[in-house]
């Protein structure tokens, strides 16, 4: 089961990395969203998949029974929130690029490249 989850997780991450390499900025954005999902899936595996029992210690017991690690699930929840914030942030940037330049082709979104391009030294001034 763990191996199956690990393969699924790495397949999702692989697809996401492929999408991030795209020149289409929206595809890149979706790639990052998928990458966060893949990473969360892999984190889930790191917390051991044992049973469906909730991580609650039985009344008489001292330690947790055969349930998955709750700490890693708390990490995933935090990571989901952070991933959402970053995806929205990148989405806003892509939207502004679209509004400013009417293109989502990464090759044409190059306003920063034009700023401060190297200039040959002026011979008159040494």
């Amino acid at each position: 089961m763990t191996v199956f989850y690990a393969f699924i997780g790495s397949a999702v991450v692989g697809c996401a990395l492929f999408m991030i390499l795209s020149r289409n900025l929206v595809r890149m954005l979706l790639g990052f969203s998928l990458l966060a999902t893949g990473a969360n899936l892999l984190l889930f595996v790191a917390g051991r998949i044992r049973s469906q029992q909730p991580p609650i210690i039985e009344p008489a017991a001292e330690v947790l029974g055969a349930s998955a690690d709750p700490v890693i699930q708390a990490l995933i929840l935090t990571a989901i929130v952070i991933g959402l914030a970053l995806t929205v942030m990148l989405g806003v940037l892509v939207l502004r690029a679209w509004r400013a330049q009417a293109t989502i082709d990464a090759r044409k979104v190059d306003a920063a490249e034009a700023v401060g391009r190297a200039r040959p030294q002026d011979p008159a001034n040494g």
Partner: protein, 487 residues
């Protein structure tokens, strides 16, 4: 209680200030006052924390009263405390410089809140003991940095922010995976306990994977070759104050995390390092960063782009210290890091004033700073000479220590690369100086604001102080190497 407050204050104060500045957003003058007061208070508190830690460090605190190892803990350890104090100095210089550089429109767009949040996040990363918490601080710093980068909403800034965000989000995912797998391997997120748990494990595929993920993630954040391309493609579009803070703090924050993870968690520089398969990568990345980025700076004429390349080239020197895998090498990295934070921020502030005086970012169109603004030239000479490594300024000692330790550790080729890169840095800084200061001036002279010069004076004085008494900083660097776990 007072000690606990002192420990939390460097993170808590900026966020309280940010909330206040956010409420005052529609009143730029009030927001400016609130953020300036917060920064002054922060600098004071950081200095007190530093002085207290010199004799007797406050005990670590665990949030929520959880038993040790479960809750998130903050602790005042070296070099975090020293870096928090330097962050306070940078924040103060940026606040002074921003009095004239950041107008009401930028403040209305939320500059004060974002800058304070960035400083708070950086301080949080310097003080935390928890791996996942470290990741969260990095993300918080990234969100604040993206806001600051696009504060003018120009097309170039949006483009730069997309490049920056893409690289940083990839780095964040790699770090997250590494952190999660560390937890899976060790069952704890506390860095000290995780390091101890890893020390007991036989070398294996899982440990190597974790190390590779964390190395790639933090190298991306630190801007080391081959992951350096995002930095010179984005930094040059930000406002001067913002880029000075970025150049000072953000790459160094990434490098600090590399130190924490590789010295603390994987025992590099200690008796039994883990993940030794990755050791050669450190040296190669350091040498390539120093050489490629110092050469890249030579090809630029735009001041901001030129200095952006120097920012990463300097991270290469720090990486060289870590690559030596000795206690002294780690101490050399810490020394270099503290020197570099101050000098890089100061150089960008100086470039901003040259732009203000001459109206151009292009070195070929600047000039005459020496004759027209002698006070500025005096203040600016300090970081320029320090970056070039001219004695007796801080850069000379930092480079000397890295060179000495690489020769002591028998890595002659790394010392050779550092020397060659140092030579290129001298040429680049000489061209920068003669173009901007000695060359004939063009156009009319424009006055320079007093507060901006005061900001530069603060940083230049710190650089000179390190240059005069390098022994004090070296003692702190040695303490830091010990506290990180080397030796």
């Amino acid at each position: 209680m007072a000690e606990a407050l002192l420990l939390v204050a460097p993170t808590l104060l900026p966020f309280l200030g940010a909330a206040l500045a956010l409420l005052l957003r529609s009143r730029p003058a009030a927001a400016r006052l609130a953020s300036l007061a917060t920064i002054i208070l922060l600098a004071l508190v950081s200095a007190i924390l530093f002085i207290v830690s010199l004799s007797d460090a406050p005990p670590p605190i665990v949030f929520g009263g959880w038993p040790d190892g479960f809750g998130i803990s903050l602790s005042a350890t070296w070099p975090g405390v020293a870096l928090v104090m330097v962050t306070g100095v940078i924040g103060l210089a940026a606040a002074l410089y921003g009095l004239d550089d950041i107008g009401p429109r930028r403040r209305g767009a939320g500059y004060d809140a974002l800058m304070l949040a960035l400083i708070g996040a950086v301080n949080g990363a310097f003080l935390t003991d928890d791996l996942f918490n470290l990741y969260v601080w990095f993300e918080l710093a990234l969100v604040a940095a993206l806001g600051l980068l696009t504060i003018d909403r120009r097309a170039a800034q949006i483009d730069a922010a997309i490049r920056y965000a893409a690289f940083a989000m990839l780095a964040a995912t790699l770090i997250l995976l590494g952190v999660g797998m560390t937890y899976g391997l060790t069952g704890t997120l506390d860095m000290r306990q995780a390091g101890a748990a890893l020390a007991g494990q036989p070398p294996g595929f899982a440990v190597a994977t974790v190390a590779a993920l964390l190395l790639a993630g933090f190298m991306l954040k630190a801007g080391l070759v081959p992951f350096h391309l995002w930095l010179p493609a984005s930094y040059h579009t930000a406002p001067t104050t913002v880029v000075a803070v970025f150049a000072g703090l953000l790459t160094k924050m990434g490098f600090f995390a590399l130190l924490l993870v590789f010295v603390g968690l994987f025992g590099v520089g200690g008796p039994a390092p883990r993940a030794v398969q990755l050791a050669p990568v450190f040296g190669w990345a350091a040498a390539a960063t120093m050489l490629i980025c110092a050469a890249g700076a030579l090809a630029q004429t735009d001041m901001r782009r030129l200095l952006s390349y120097h920012v990463i080239a300097q991270v290469g020197y720090m990486m060289a210290g870590l690559a030596l895998a000795t206690e002294e090498g780690v101490a050399a990295s810490v020394f270099y890091m503290i020197h570099s934070i101050i000098v890089q921020a100061n150089l960008f502030l100086g470039a901003g004033l040259i732009h203000r005086a001459s109206g151009s970012w292009d070195l070929t169109r600047t000039g005459g700073m020496m004759r027209r603004h002698p006070v500025f030239a005096l203040l600016f000479a300090v970081p320029v000479l320090s970056l070039a490594g001219i004695p007796p300024l801080s850069g000379f000692w930092a480079k000397l220590i890295v060179l000495r330790e690489s020769l002591d550790a028998g890595m002659v080729w790394l010392a050779g690369a550092a020397l060659l890169a140092g030579m290129m840095t001298i040429v680049s800084m000489a061209m920068f100086w003669s173009d901007s200061c000695w060359k004939d001036a063009r156009g009319h002279a424009r006055p320079l604001p007093f507060a901006s010069l005061a900001a530069m004076a603060l940083l230049s004085a710190t650089t000179v102080a390190i240059g005069i008494a390098p022994q004090a900083l070296w003692t702190i660097a040695r303490l830091s190497a010990k506290a990180l776990g080397a030796g």
